[in-house]
Symmetry: C2
Subunit: 194 residues, 2 copies
Amino acid sequence: MSPQAPERKVIAVDMDEVIADALGEHLNRYNREFANDHTAAITLSDLRGRRLWQVIPAHLHSTLDNYLREDDFFRNLGVMPHAQRVLERLQSRYEIFIASAAMEVPTSFVAKYDWLAEHFPFIPTSHIVFCGDKSILRADYLIDDNPRQLKLFHDTTNPGAVREGILYSSPANLDVTGYRRVDDWLAVEQMFLS
Amino acid sequence: MSPQAPERKVIAVDMDEVIADALGEHLNRYNREFANDHTAAITLSDLRGRRLWQVIPAHLHSTLDNYLREDDFFRNLGVMPHAQRVLERLQSRYEIFIASAAMEVPTSFVAKYDWLAEHFPFIPTSHIVFCGDKSILRADYLIDDNPRQLKLFHDTTNPGAVREGILYSSPANLDVTGYRRVDDWLAVEQMFLS
């Protein structure tokens, strides 16, 4: 167990779309299977304000779900640019927890755990959380791309406590308002370390 | 996501030794392999104030660790008496989360998830947390047999917030003081529902 100075602020950080490029991998798998001379590849710009499920035909939704359950999906995700360097810097001033809503895809537990060990070895396993509803997190800040989770987190603020949800930009949330927004890890660095 | 009434108090509940009889299974496996005419079986009364690791020879510690990593260990645990009935009753008045320090044994994720689905199907998966350091839990109460976790939970209390660790009795913690103690689920029922 790492020593904990109570006065350090706690930052909880989501995984998919924040430190891990799950959407990119999802698009790759979908386009590899379905894009061809007759069907154009889906790009990030097709996804403004919409999740992938909202832009593909309904009869292919189960295919999308199944990609997430493939053994190697969460093991091979790209790392978001600068996430490693900035998180390691943040650790010197803040208590950092990685908090993933992994309960939605229970087949992902071990792959996510291994992925963190590979790419973020400086995060102790004691500071990894696999959960569902992020209202359970006691943190001063939650950096997440999912406005539903930020709302759950925010609505449980104790009076007087700092408890702020910060929206990490992803195509689906670009029109969401009501939260401080960061577009990338350089913006996170600026917000917390400048 | 279940609807959440912000005014409901949140109770986080540990798994091993609180709702799941991991110690009983651990003893079974150890005694089955090592107890014989020359070596007496270890019983719960041998464990007062001590963890299993402290009463067996050092050269067998890795054997104990390995039991935890066996595929069927966490899948076959007994349910603590009255835990199901009382937790289901508590759910009508409180927000219940199950919070296990599963990061210590990452091979246990899926077995723990399946065990909860089998024995506590009324707990939504959104309310399951696999974590390490339980200071990350935003709850009003944590029911746990591990004083180290209760201390982490308690030391991060916001001024003025209700945030209480409740010690669920297990052999190893019988001499620990400083927390309200419950000996079984009937005592939990009495504490929260009477």
